[in-house]
Symmetry: C2
Protein backbone atom coordinates (compact mmCIF):
# COMPACT_ATOMS: atom_id res chain seq x y z
CA UNK A 1 0.00 0.00 0.00
CA UNK A 2 1.16 3.53 -0.67
CA UNK A 3 2.11 5.72 2.27
CA UNK A 4 0.65 9.08 3.18
CA UNK A 5 2.72 9.96 6.24
CA UNK A 6 3.15 13.53 4.99
CA UNK A 7 0.68 16.27 6.04
CA UNK A 8 -2.74 15.86 4.50
CA UNK A 9 -2.56 17.46 1.06
CA UNK A 10 -4.76 15.12 -0.88
CA UNK A 11 -8.27 14.01 -0.15
CA UNK A 12 -10.57 11.47 -1.72
CA UNK A 13 -14.23 12.43 -2.00
CA UNK A 14 -16.47 9.39 -2.43
CA UNK A 15 -19.99 10.30 -3.51
CA UNK A 16 -20.40 13.61 -5.31
CA UNK A 17 -23.96 14.66 -4.65
CA UNK A 18 -24.78 17.88 -2.79
CA UNK A 19 -22.61 17.00 0.20
CA UNK A 20 -19.68 15.69 -1.83
CA UNK A 21 -19.55 18.68 -4.15
CA UNK A 22 -19.69 21.07 -1.23
CA UNK A 23 -16.88 19.23 0.63
CA UNK A 24 -14.86 19.23 -2.62
CA UNK A 25 -15.14 23.00 -2.92
CA UNK A 26 -14.07 23.48 0.71
CA UNK A 27 -11.04 21.19 0.30
CA UNK A 28 -9.96 22.82 -2.97
CA UNK A 29 -10.34 26.34 -1.55
CA UNK A 30 -7.91 25.37 1.21
CA UNK A 31 -5.28 24.09 -1.21
CA UNK A 32 -5.99 20.37 -0.90
CA UNK A 33 -5.96 18.21 -4.01
CA UNK A 34 -9.21 16.29 -4.43
CA UNK A 35 -9.65 12.95 -6.18
CA UNK A 36 -13.39 12.47 -6.58
CA UNK A 37 -15.38 9.36 -7.36
CA UNK A 38 -19.07 8.70 -7.85
CA UNK A 39 -20.82 5.59 -9.20
CA UNK A 40 -22.77 7.88 -11.56
CA UNK A 41 -20.45 8.87 -14.40
CA UNK A 42 -22.61 11.85 -15.31
CA UNK A 43 -22.52 13.26 -11.79
CA UNK A 44 -18.76 12.79 -11.72
CA UNK A 45 -18.16 14.44 -15.11
CA UNK A 46 -20.22 17.47 -14.09
CA UNK A 47 -18.37 17.96 -10.79
CA UNK A 48 -15.63 20.35 -11.98
CA UNK A 49 -18.29 22.69 -13.31
CA UNK A 50 -20.54 22.30 -10.25
CA UNK A 51 -17.83 23.27 -7.77
CA UNK A 52 -17.10 26.57 -9.56
CA UNK A 53 -19.93 28.66 -8.03
CA UNK A 54 -19.15 27.17 -4.60
CA UNK A 55 -15.49 28.13 -4.99
CA UNK A 56 -16.59 31.64 -5.93
CA UNK A 57 -18.61 31.82 -2.68
CA UNK A 58 -15.58 30.73 -0.70
CA UNK A 59 -13.35 33.29 -2.42
CA UNK A 60 -15.92 35.97 -1.53
CA UNK A 61 -15.62 34.84 2.09
CA UNK A 62 -11.83 35.14 1.96
CA UNK A 63 -11.00 31.41 1.84
CA UNK A 64 -8.22 31.58 -0.69
CA UNK A 65 -5.23 29.29 -0.45
CA UNK A 66 -1.86 30.41 -1.84
CA UNK A 67 -2.08 27.43 -4.20
CA UNK A 68 -5.65 26.23 -4.85
CA UNK A 69 -6.07 22.48 -4.90
CA UNK A 70 -6.42 20.43 -8.07
CA UNK A 71 -9.59 18.47 -8.73
CA UNK A 72 -9.34 15.15 -10.52
CA UNK A 73 -12.10 12.69 -11.26
CA UNK A 74 -11.23 9.07 -10.60
CA UNK A 75 -12.68 6.17 -12.55
CA UNK A 76 -12.65 3.80 -9.56
CA UNK A 77 -12.73 3.87 -5.79
CA UNK A 78 -9.21 2.43 -5.78
CA UNK A 79 -7.92 5.21 -8.02
CA UNK A 80 -9.58 7.87 -5.84
CA UNK A 81 -8.28 6.66 -2.49
CA UNK A 82 -4.86 5.32 -3.55
CA UNK A 83 -3.04 8.61 -2.96
CA UNK A 84 -5.30 10.08 -0.32
CA UNK A 85 -4.46 10.83 3.30
CA UNK A 86 -8.10 11.65 4.04
CA UNK A 87 -11.18 9.92 2.64
CA UNK A 88 -14.49 11.74 2.94
CA UNK A 89 -17.33 9.31 2.28
CA UNK A 90 -20.72 10.70 1.24
CA UNK A 91 -22.46 7.57 -0.01
CA UNK A 92 -26.24 7.07 0.37
CA UNK A 93 -27.51 6.57 3.93
CA UNK A 94 -27.59 2.81 3.66
CA UNK A 95 -25.41 0.62 5.83
CA UNK A 96 -24.94 -2.13 3.23
CA UNK A 97 -23.92 0.38 0.54
CA UNK A 98 -21.41 2.02 2.85
CA UNK A 99 -20.00 -1.32 4.02
CA UNK A 100 -19.52 -2.40 0.40
CA UNK A 101 -17.71 0.83 -0.34
CA UNK A 102 -15.47 0.47 2.74
CA UNK A 103 -14.32 -2.96 1.54
CA UNK A 104 -13.10 -1.36 -1.69
CA UNK A 105 -11.52 1.52 0.25
CA UNK A 106 -9.66 -0.74 2.66
CA UNK A 107 -8.22 -2.78 -0.21
CA UNK A 108 -6.67 0.30 -1.85
CA UNK A 109 -6.09 3.05 0.75
CA UNK A 110 -2.87 3.90 2.56
CA UNK A 111 -2.64 2.20 5.94
CA UNK A 112 -2.85 5.46 7.84
CA UNK A 113 -5.53 7.17 5.73
CA UNK A 114 -8.59 8.17 7.76
CA UNK A 115 -12.05 7.15 6.57
CA UNK A 116 -14.44 9.94 7.55
CA UNK A 117 -18.15 9.38 6.95
CA UNK A 118 -20.50 12.33 6.44
CA UNK A 119 -23.41 10.18 7.61
CA UNK A 120 -26.26 12.10 9.17
CA UNK A 121 -28.58 9.29 10.20
CA UNK A 122 -26.34 6.27 10.80
CA UNK A 123 -24.06 5.83 13.78
CA UNK A 124 -20.36 5.12 13.99
CA UNK A 125 -21.25 1.74 15.51
CA UNK A 126 -23.41 0.91 12.47
CA UNK A 127 -20.53 1.75 10.13
CA UNK A 128 -17.74 0.20 12.19
CA UNK A 129 -19.35 -3.22 11.73
CA UNK A 130 -18.24 -3.03 8.08
CA UNK A 131 -14.53 -2.23 8.40
CA UNK A 132 -11.54 -4.22 9.54
CA UNK A 133 -9.66 -1.15 10.83
CA UNK A 134 -12.17 0.50 13.19
CA UNK A 135 -9.44 2.66 14.67
CA UNK A 136 -9.24 4.83 11.54
CA UNK A 137 -12.98 5.21 10.99
CA UNK A 138 -14.70 8.38 12.17
CA UNK A 139 -18.09 9.94 11.64
CA UNK A 140 -17.62 13.56 10.55
CA UNK A 141 -21.07 14.97 10.02
CA UNK A 142 -21.21 18.39 8.37
CA UNK A 143 -24.21 20.68 8.37
CA UNK A 144 -25.50 21.32 4.87
CA UNK A 145 -24.01 23.03 2.89
CA UNK A 146 -20.62 22.00 4.34
CA UNK A 147 -18.61 24.63 2.48
CA UNK A 148 -20.59 27.38 4.24
CA UNK A 149 -21.78 25.89 7.55
CA UNK A 150 -18.95 25.74 10.10
CA UNK A 151 -20.13 22.75 12.14
CA UNK A 152 -18.58 19.28 11.87
CA UNK A 153 -19.72 16.71 14.48
CA UNK A 154 -17.21 13.99 15.24
CA UNK A 155 -17.30 10.57 16.83
CA UNK A 156 -14.54 7.98 16.89
CA UNK A 157 -13.48 5.46 19.49
CA UNK A 158 -9.80 6.12 18.79
CA UNK A 159 -8.40 9.24 20.46
CA UNK A 160 -5.66 9.72 17.88
CA UNK A 161 -8.08 9.58 14.95
CA UNK A 162 -10.34 12.06 16.72
CA UNK A 163 -7.41 14.39 17.27
CA UNK A 164 -6.35 14.11 13.62
CA UNK A 165 -9.90 14.94 12.57
CA UNK A 166 -10.04 17.99 14.84
CA UNK A 167 -6.78 19.26 13.37
CA UNK A 168 -7.87 18.51 9.83
CA UNK A 169 -11.33 20.17 9.92
CA UNK A 170 -10.23 23.13 12.04
CA UNK A 171 -7.54 23.74 9.44
CA UNK A 172 -10.41 24.19 6.99
CA UNK A 173 -12.01 26.85 9.18
CA UNK A 174 -14.57 24.41 10.59
CA UNK A 175 -15.83 24.27 14.17
CA UNK A 176 -15.68 20.71 15.49
CA UNK A 177 -17.60 19.18 18.35
CA UNK A 178 -16.82 15.71 19.64
CA UNK A 179 -19.56 13.42 20.90
CA UNK A 180 -18.72 11.56 24.11
CA UNK A 181 -21.05 8.76 23.11
CA UNK A 182 -22.23 7.50 19.72
CA UNK A 183 -25.80 8.76 19.12
CA UNK A 184 -28.33 8.72 16.29
CA UNK A 185 -28.62 12.24 14.85
CA UNK A 186 -25.40 13.34 16.56
CA UNK A 187 -26.19 16.63 18.38
CA UNK A 188 -27.42 19.14 15.80
CA UNK A 189 -29.99 16.97 14.05
CA UNK A 190 -31.39 15.84 17.39
CA UNK A 191 -31.87 19.50 18.31
CA UNK A 192 -33.31 20.30 14.86
CA UNK A 193 -35.65 17.34 15.06
CA UNK A 194 -36.88 18.32 18.54
CA UNK A 195 -37.55 21.87 17.40
CA UNK A 196 -39.28 20.78 14.21
CA UNK A 197 -41.57 18.45 16.14
CA UNK A 198 -42.95 21.45 18.03
CA UNK A 199 -42.95 23.57 14.85
CA UNK A 200 -45.16 20.89 13.24
CA UNK A 201 -47.31 20.73 16.37
CA UNK A 202 -47.94 24.50 16.33
CA UNK A 203 -49.18 24.20 12.74
CA UNK A 204 -51.17 21.03 13.43
CA UNK A 205 -52.86 22.66 16.45
CA UNK A 206 -53.77 25.74 14.44
CA UNK A 207 -51.77 28.08 16.71
CA UNK A 208 -49.93 29.65 13.76
CA UNK A 209 -49.25 28.88 10.12
CA UNK A 210 -46.02 27.68 8.55
CA UNK A 211 -44.75 31.09 7.43
CA UNK A 212 -45.36 32.67 10.84
CA UNK A 213 -43.63 29.81 12.68
CA UNK A 214 -40.63 30.23 10.39
CA UNK A 215 -40.64 34.03 10.82
CA UNK A 216 -40.83 33.70 14.61
CA UNK A 217 -37.81 31.37 14.54
CA UNK A 218 -35.69 33.46 12.16
CA UNK A 219 -36.34 36.77 13.94
CA UNK A 220 -36.34 35.36 17.47
CA UNK A 221 -34.59 32.25 18.78
CA UNK A 222 -32.80 31.47 15.49
CA UNK A 223 -31.12 34.85 15.48
CA UNK A 224 -30.20 34.44 19.14
CA UNK A 225 -28.87 30.89 18.63
CA UNK A 226 -26.64 32.11 15.81
CA UNK A 227 -24.82 34.05 18.53
CA UNK A 228 -25.21 32.05 21.77
CA UNK A 229 -26.33 28.51 22.51
CA UNK A 230 -29.51 27.38 24.20
CA UNK A 231 -27.89 26.55 27.55
CA UNK A 232 -26.02 29.87 27.57
CA UNK A 233 -29.23 31.73 26.71
CA UNK A 234 -30.86 30.38 29.88
CA UNK A 235 -27.73 31.26 31.86
CA UNK A 236 -28.19 34.88 30.73
CA UNK A 237 -31.95 34.55 31.26
CA UNK A 238 -31.24 33.95 34.94
CA UNK A 239 -29.94 37.49 35.49
CA UNK A 240 -27.00 38.00 37.88
CA UNK A 241 -27.63 34.54 39.39
CA UNK A 242 -27.21 32.83 36.04
CA UNK A 243 -28.26 29.27 35.27
CA UNK A 244 -28.51 28.24 38.94
CA UNK A 245 -30.98 31.07 39.60
CA UNK A 246 -32.84 30.22 36.39
CA UNK A 247 -33.17 26.56 37.39
CA UNK A 248 -34.34 27.49 40.89
CA UNK A 249 -36.94 29.99 39.75
CA UNK A 250 -37.99 28.92 36.27
CA UNK A 251 -36.95 25.26 36.12
CA UNK A 252 -40.37 24.09 37.35
CA UNK A 253 -42.18 26.25 34.77
CA UNK A 254 -39.95 24.84 32.00
CA UNK A 255 -40.84 21.32 33.11
CA UNK A 256 -44.53 22.28 33.04
CA UNK A 257 -44.09 23.71 29.53
CA UNK A 258 -42.26 20.57 28.37
CA UNK A 259 -45.33 18.63 29.42
CA UNK A 260 -47.51 20.78 27.15
CA UNK A 261 -45.36 20.38 24.02
CA UNK A 262 -46.92 18.37 21.26
CA UNK A 263 -46.20 14.93 19.85
CA UNK A 264 -47.69 15.29 16.36
CA UNK A 265 -47.78 12.63 13.67
CA UNK A 266 -47.24 13.36 10.00
CA UNK A 267 -50.78 12.37 9.07
CA UNK A 268 -52.16 13.21 5.61
CA UNK A 269 -53.92 16.25 7.14
CA UNK A 270 -50.73 17.55 8.76
CA UNK A 271 -48.73 16.91 5.58
CA UNK A 272 -51.31 18.94 3.66
CA UNK A 273 -51.00 21.85 6.14
CA UNK A 274 -47.20 21.78 5.82
CA UNK A 275 -47.16 21.56 2.02
CA UNK A 276 -49.78 24.32 1.62
CA UNK A 277 -48.02 26.45 4.24
CA UNK A 278 -44.67 26.18 2.47
CA UNK A 279 -46.31 27.09 -0.85
CA UNK A 280 -47.68 30.21 0.84
CA UNK A 281 -44.32 31.05 2.43
CA UNK A 282 -42.39 30.44 -0.80
CA UNK A 283 -44.86 32.70 -2.63
CA UNK A 284 -43.80 31.41 -6.04
CA UNK A 285 -40.06 31.31 -5.38
CA UNK A 286 -38.45 28.16 -6.80
CA UNK A 287 -36.24 25.85 -4.75
CA UNK A 288 -33.22 27.26 -6.62
CA UNK A 289 -34.22 30.83 -5.76
CA UNK A 290 -34.83 29.93 -2.11
CA UNK A 291 -31.45 28.16 -1.94
CA UNK A 292 -29.72 31.17 -3.47
CA UNK A 293 -31.39 33.43 -0.90
CA UNK A 294 -30.37 31.08 1.91
CA UNK A 295 -26.77 30.96 0.74
CA UNK A 296 -26.62 34.72 0.38
CA UNK A 297 -28.00 35.15 3.92
CA UNK A 298 -25.52 32.59 5.23
CA UNK A 299 -22.62 34.34 3.52
CA UNK A 300 -23.58 37.69 5.04
CA UNK A 301 -23.95 36.06 8.46
CA UNK A 302 -20.55 34.39 8.08
CA UNK A 303 -18.96 37.66 7.00
CA UNK A 304 -20.46 39.28 10.13
CA UNK A 305 -18.90 36.52 12.25
CA UNK A 306 -15.52 37.16 10.73
CA UNK A 307 -15.89 40.81 11.71
CA UNK A 308 -16.82 39.75 15.24
CA UNK A 309 -13.68 37.61 15.37
CA UNK A 310 -11.63 40.58 14.23
CA UNK A 311 -13.13 42.80 16.92
CA UNK A 312 -15.00 45.12 14.57
CA UNK A 313 -18.26 46.82 15.50
CA UNK A 314 -21.13 47.43 13.09
Amino acid sequence: MPSSQQATTSVAVLGCGLIGESWSALFLAHGLDVAAWDPDGGVLAALPQRVEPLLAQLRALGHTAARPGRLSVAQSVAAAVGGAAWIQENAPENTAVKHGLYAEVEAAAAADAVIASSTSSLTWTDLAAGVTRRDRLITAHPFNPPHLMPLVELFADNAQTLERAETFYRGLGRVTVALRKDAVGHIANRLASALWREAVNIVAEGIADVADVDAALVHGPGLRWSVIGSHMAYHLGGGPGGIAHYLDHLGPSQERRWATLGTPSLTPEVRRLLIDGIAQEAAGRSIATLEAERDRGLMLALAARRKAGEGECP
Copy 2:
Protein backbone atom coordinates in the same frame (compact mmCIF):
# COMPACT_ATOMS: atom_id res chain seq x y z
CA MET B 1 -60.78 60.94 29.57
CA PRO B 2 -58.18 62.54 27.33
CA SER B 3 -58.17 61.65 23.65
CA SER B 4 -55.29 60.24 21.64
CA GLN B 5 -56.84 60.02 18.20
CA GLN B 6 -53.67 61.38 16.62
CA ALA B 7 -50.93 59.02 15.36
CA THR B 8 -49.08 57.27 18.15
CA THR B 9 -46.39 59.66 19.31
CA SER B 10 -46.40 58.97 23.02
CA VAL B 11 -46.09 55.67 24.79
CA ALA B 12 -46.41 54.64 28.42
CA VAL B 13 -43.95 52.02 29.65
CA LEU B 14 -45.18 50.28 32.80
CA GLY B 15 -42.49 48.26 34.53
CA CYS B 16 -38.91 49.32 33.85
CA GLY B 17 -36.85 46.20 34.39
CA LEU B 18 -34.76 44.69 31.58
CA ILE B 19 -37.73 44.46 29.20
CA GLY B 20 -39.12 47.91 30.00
CA GLU B 21 -35.80 49.68 29.63
CA SER B 22 -35.16 47.96 26.32
CA TRP B 23 -38.62 48.87 24.96
CA SER B 24 -38.06 52.45 26.18
CA ALA B 25 -34.85 52.72 24.19
CA LEU B 26 -36.54 51.36 21.07
CA PHE B 27 -39.46 53.80 21.36
CA LEU B 28 -37.19 56.80 22.01
CA ALA B 29 -34.90 55.91 19.11
CA HIS B 30 -37.91 56.02 16.81
CA GLY B 31 -38.98 59.45 17.97
CA LEU B 32 -41.74 58.43 20.38
CA ASP B 33 -42.08 60.19 23.70
CA VAL B 34 -42.00 57.76 26.61
CA ALA B 35 -43.66 58.22 29.99
CA ALA B 36 -42.25 55.50 32.22
CA TRP B 37 -43.50 54.18 35.54
CA ASP B 38 -42.20 51.53 37.90
CA PRO B 39 -43.31 50.74 41.47
CA ASP B 40 -39.62 50.85 42.50
CA GLY B 41 -38.58 54.51 42.71
CA GLY B 42 -34.90 53.61 42.45
CA VAL B 43 -35.40 51.63 39.25
CA LEU B 44 -37.41 54.50 37.80
CA ALA B 45 -34.88 57.18 38.73
CA ALA B 46 -32.05 55.19 37.14
CA LEU B 47 -33.94 54.64 33.86
CA PRO B 48 -32.69 57.70 31.92
CA GLN B 49 -29.11 56.62 32.57
CA ARG B 50 -29.81 52.94 31.83
CA VAL B 51 -31.32 53.62 28.41
CA GLU B 52 -28.24 55.55 27.21
CA PRO B 53 -26.05 52.56 26.22
CA LEU B 54 -29.08 50.94 24.54
CA LEU B 55 -29.73 54.13 22.56
CA ALA B 56 -26.08 54.12 21.52
CA GLN B 57 -26.51 50.56 20.20
CA LEU B 58 -29.56 51.63 18.21
CA ARG B 59 -27.73 54.63 16.78
CA ALA B 60 -24.91 52.30 15.70
CA LEU B 61 -27.54 50.20 13.89
CA GLY B 62 -28.87 53.27 12.09
CA HIS B 63 -32.10 53.70 14.09
CA THR B 64 -32.06 57.46 14.39
CA ALA B 65 -35.25 59.47 14.28
CA ALA B 66 -35.20 63.03 12.99
CA ARG B 67 -36.42 64.06 16.44
CA PRO B 68 -35.53 61.59 19.20
CA GLY B 69 -38.28 60.99 21.73
CA ARG B 70 -38.33 62.51 25.19
CA LEU B 71 -38.21 60.28 28.25
CA SER B 72 -40.14 61.32 31.34
CA VAL B 73 -40.54 59.40 34.55
CA ALA B 74 -44.07 59.39 35.95
CA GLN B 75 -44.87 59.22 39.64
CA SER B 76 -48.06 57.23 39.14
CA VAL B 77 -49.65 54.83 36.68
CA ALA B 78 -52.30 57.48 35.96
CA ALA B 79 -49.67 60.09 35.15
CA ALA B 80 -47.83 57.65 32.85
CA VAL B 81 -50.83 56.51 30.83
CA GLY B 82 -52.88 59.75 30.80
CA GLY B 83 -51.36 61.08 27.58
CA ALA B 84 -50.39 57.77 25.98
CA ALA B 85 -51.77 56.27 22.80
CA TRP B 86 -49.88 53.02 23.44
CA ILE B 87 -49.30 51.35 26.80
CA GLN B 88 -46.56 48.70 26.96
CA GLU B 89 -46.97 46.70 30.16
CA ASN B 90 -43.96 44.79 31.52
CA ALA B 91 -45.12 43.95 35.04
CA PRO B 92 -44.06 40.73 36.79
CA GLU B 93 -45.48 37.50 35.34
CA ASN B 94 -48.29 37.31 37.87
CA THR B 95 -51.91 37.50 36.80
CA ALA B 96 -53.13 39.25 39.96
CA VAL B 97 -50.39 41.90 39.73
CA LYS B 98 -51.20 42.58 36.08
CA HIS B 99 -54.96 42.69 36.74
CA GLY B 100 -54.42 45.22 39.55
CA LEU B 101 -52.33 47.35 37.24
CA TYR B 102 -54.91 47.17 34.43
CA ALA B 103 -57.59 48.53 36.79
CA GLU B 104 -55.42 51.61 37.35
CA VAL B 105 -54.70 51.88 33.63
CA GLU B 106 -58.34 51.67 32.59
CA ALA B 107 -59.29 54.41 35.07
CA ALA B 108 -56.83 56.88 33.57
CA ALA B 109 -56.04 55.97 29.94
CA ALA B 110 -57.57 57.43 26.79
CA ALA B 111 -60.51 55.41 25.52
CA ASP B 112 -58.67 54.32 22.40
CA ALA B 113 -55.26 53.65 23.94
CA VAL B 114 -54.06 50.08 23.38
CA ILE B 115 -52.84 48.02 26.33
CA ALA B 116 -50.05 45.75 25.06
CA SER B 117 -48.64 43.18 27.46
CA SER B 118 -45.07 41.90 27.05
CA THR B 119 -46.04 38.73 28.91
CA SER B 120 -43.98 35.67 28.00
CA SER B 121 -45.67 33.00 30.10
CA LEU B 122 -49.28 34.15 30.54
CA THR B 123 -51.92 34.07 27.84
CA TRP B 124 -54.17 36.79 26.47
CA THR B 125 -57.10 34.88 27.98
CA ASP B 126 -55.48 34.99 31.43
CA LEU B 127 -55.02 38.73 31.13
CA ALA B 128 -58.36 39.55 29.48
CA ALA B 129 -60.14 38.31 32.60
CA GLY B 130 -58.85 41.43 34.34
CA VAL B 131 -59.97 44.20 31.99
CA THR B 132 -63.33 45.69 31.13
CA ARG B 133 -62.27 46.58 27.56
CA ARG B 134 -60.96 43.32 26.15
CA ASP B 135 -61.09 44.72 22.63
CA ARG B 136 -58.09 46.96 23.24
CA LEU B 137 -55.94 44.40 25.07
CA ILE B 138 -53.21 42.59 23.12
CA THR B 139 -50.30 40.39 24.04
CA ALA B 140 -47.18 41.70 22.33
CA HIS B 141 -44.34 39.45 23.36
CA PRO B 142 -40.87 40.63 22.39
CA PHE B 143 -37.78 38.46 22.34
CA ASN B 144 -35.17 39.67 24.80
CA PRO B 145 -33.58 42.19 24.37
CA PRO B 146 -36.50 43.88 22.54
CA HIS B 147 -34.46 46.81 21.24
CA LEU B 148 -32.22 44.38 19.30
CA MET B 149 -34.34 41.30 18.59
CA PRO B 150 -36.81 41.93 15.75
CA LEU B 151 -39.57 39.50 16.79
CA VAL B 152 -42.85 40.61 18.41
CA GLU B 153 -45.53 37.90 18.79
CA LEU B 154 -49.10 39.19 18.83
CA PHE B 155 -52.44 37.85 19.94
CA ALA B 156 -55.71 39.78 20.24
CA ASP B 157 -59.30 38.80 19.61
CA ASN B 158 -60.05 42.16 18.01
CA ALA B 159 -58.93 42.48 14.39
CA GLN B 160 -58.58 46.25 14.53
CA THR B 161 -56.36 46.15 17.61
CA LEU B 162 -54.22 43.49 15.96
CA GLU B 163 -53.88 45.64 12.86
CA ARG B 164 -52.95 48.69 14.93
CA ALA B 165 -50.29 46.62 16.71
CA GLU B 166 -48.85 45.36 13.42
CA THR B 167 -48.61 48.93 12.12
CA PHE B 168 -47.13 50.20 15.38
CA TYR B 169 -44.40 47.57 15.86
CA ARG B 170 -43.48 47.36 12.17
CA GLY B 171 -43.00 51.12 12.28
CA LEU B 172 -40.33 50.41 14.90
CA GLY B 173 -38.51 48.02 12.56
CA ARG B 174 -39.95 44.95 14.29
CA VAL B 175 -41.12 41.75 12.61
CA THR B 176 -44.56 40.77 13.87
CA VAL B 177 -46.22 37.38 13.81
CA ALA B 178 -49.87 36.92 14.75
CA LEU B 179 -51.05 33.81 16.56
CA ARG B 180 -54.30 32.35 15.22
CA LYS B 181 -55.06 30.90 18.64
CA ASP B 182 -54.03 31.95 22.14
CA ALA B 183 -51.23 29.63 23.35
CA VAL B 184 -48.92 29.39 26.36
CA GLY B 185 -45.40 30.33 25.28
CA HIS B 186 -46.68 31.90 22.04
CA ILE B 187 -44.56 30.43 19.19
CA ALA B 188 -40.91 31.25 19.89
CA ASN B 189 -40.73 30.13 23.50
CA ARG B 190 -42.50 26.89 22.66
CA LEU B 191 -39.82 26.24 20.02
CA ALA B 192 -37.06 27.29 22.41
CA SER B 193 -38.44 25.08 25.14
CA ALA B 194 -38.69 22.07 22.82
CA LEU B 195 -35.12 22.54 21.68
CA TRP B 196 -33.80 23.04 25.21
CA ARG B 197 -35.50 19.87 26.40
CA GLU B 198 -33.40 17.87 23.94
CA ALA B 199 -30.31 20.00 24.71
CA VAL B 200 -30.75 19.03 28.38
CA ASN B 201 -31.35 15.41 27.40
CA ILE B 202 -28.10 15.25 25.40
CA VAL B 203 -26.20 16.46 28.48
CA ALA B 204 -28.14 14.20 30.86
CA GLU B 205 -27.48 11.16 28.65
CA GLY B 206 -23.76 11.91 28.45
CA ILE B 207 -23.80 12.30 24.66
CA ALA B 208 -22.06 15.69 24.79
CA ASP B 209 -21.32 18.38 27.33
CA VAL B 210 -22.96 21.80 27.66
CA ALA B 211 -20.33 23.75 25.73
CA ASP B 212 -20.34 21.31 22.79
CA VAL B 213 -24.15 21.30 22.59
CA ASP B 214 -24.09 25.11 22.49
CA ALA B 215 -21.30 25.14 19.88
CA ALA B 216 -23.17 22.64 17.70
CA LEU B 217 -26.26 24.85 17.83
CA VAL B 218 -24.48 28.15 17.15
CA HIS B 219 -22.38 26.83 14.25
CA GLY B 220 -25.07 24.54 12.81
CA PRO B 221 -28.85 24.86 13.09
CA GLY B 222 -28.77 28.22 14.93
CA LEU B 223 -26.82 29.83 12.11
CA ARG B 224 -29.17 28.27 9.56
CA TRP B 225 -32.31 29.34 11.48
CA SER B 226 -31.05 32.91 11.58
CA VAL B 227 -31.52 32.83 7.80
CA ILE B 228 -34.37 30.36 7.09
CA GLY B 229 -36.99 28.74 9.30
CA SER B 230 -37.27 25.11 10.30
CA HIS B 231 -40.11 24.27 7.89
CA MET B 232 -38.32 25.99 5.00
CA ALA B 233 -35.09 24.15 5.86
CA TYR B 234 -36.85 20.81 5.36
CA HIS B 235 -38.40 22.14 2.14
CA LEU B 236 -34.86 22.77 0.86
CA GLY B 237 -33.73 19.46 2.38
CA GLY B 238 -36.15 17.70 0.04
CA GLY B 239 -34.18 18.69 -3.06
CA PRO B 240 -36.10 19.57 -6.24
CA GLY B 241 -39.22 17.86 -4.83
CA GLY B 242 -39.26 20.12 -1.78
CA ILE B 243 -41.26 19.46 1.37
CA ALA B 244 -43.58 16.93 -0.29
CA HIS B 245 -40.60 14.82 -1.33
CA TYR B 246 -39.05 15.27 2.10
CA LEU B 247 -42.22 14.09 3.84
CA ASP B 248 -42.54 11.09 1.51
CA HIS B 249 -38.95 9.95 1.88
CA LEU B 250 -37.79 11.19 5.28
CA GLY B 251 -41.05 11.79 7.15
CA PRO B 252 -41.03 8.26 8.60
CA SER B 253 -37.40 8.60 9.77
CA GLN B 254 -38.25 11.94 11.42
CA GLU B 255 -41.12 10.26 13.26
CA ARG B 256 -38.76 7.50 14.38
CA ARG B 257 -36.26 10.10 15.59
CA TRP B 258 -38.99 12.00 17.45
CA ALA B 259 -39.66 8.77 19.32
CA THR B 260 -36.03 8.64 20.47
CA LEU B 261 -35.87 12.22 21.78
CA GLY B 262 -35.54 12.52 25.51
CA THR B 263 -37.94 13.66 28.21
CA PRO B 264 -35.45 14.67 30.92
CA SER B 265 -36.30 16.03 34.34
CA LEU B 266 -34.34 18.77 36.05
CA THR B 267 -33.17 16.47 38.84
CA PRO B 268 -30.39 17.58 41.21
CA GLU B 269 -27.91 15.52 39.12
CA VAL B 270 -28.99 17.12 35.84
CA ARG B 271 -28.94 20.59 37.42
CA ARG B 272 -25.36 19.92 38.57
CA LEU B 273 -24.33 18.88 35.03
CA LEU B 274 -25.87 22.06 33.58
CA ILE B 275 -24.36 24.39 36.19
CA ASP B 276 -20.90 22.82 35.91
CA GLY B 277 -21.15 22.76 32.13
CA ILE B 278 -22.02 26.45 31.94
CA ALA B 279 -19.11 27.27 34.27
CA GLN B 280 -16.82 25.41 31.88
CA GLU B 281 -18.31 27.16 28.83
CA ALA B 282 -18.19 30.61 30.44
CA ALA B 283 -14.52 29.98 31.37
CA GLY B 284 -14.47 32.79 33.90
CA ARG B 285 -16.46 35.31 31.87
CA SER B 286 -19.00 37.20 34.01
CA ILE B 287 -22.67 37.49 33.10
CA ALA B 288 -22.03 41.12 32.11
CA THR B 289 -19.18 40.10 29.79
CA LEU B 290 -21.26 37.32 28.24
CA GLU B 291 -24.17 39.71 27.72
CA ALA B 292 -21.89 42.26 26.09
CA GLU B 293 -20.53 39.54 23.76
CA ARG B 294 -24.07 38.42 22.93
CA ASP B 295 -25.19 41.98 22.15
CA ARG B 296 -22.13 42.61 20.01
CA GLY B 297 -22.78 39.39 18.06
CA LEU B 298 -26.44 40.33 17.66
CA MET B 299 -25.55 43.79 16.41
CA LEU B 300 -23.18 42.38 13.80
CA ALA B 301 -25.83 39.85 12.74
CA LEU B 302 -28.43 42.62 12.48
CA ALA B 303 -26.07 44.80 10.47
CA ALA B 304 -25.55 41.83 8.11
CA ARG B 305 -29.33 41.51 7.72
CA ARG B 306 -29.59 45.16 6.82
CA LYS B 307 -27.01 44.56 4.10
CA ALA B 308 -29.00 41.57 2.88
CA GLY B 309 -32.10 43.77 2.72
CA GLU B 310 -30.16 46.33 0.71
CA GLY B 311 -28.96 43.68 -1.73
CA GLU B 312 -25.28 43.84 -0.82
CA CYS B 313 -22.98 40.85 -0.99
CA PRO B 314 -20.14 40.15 1.44
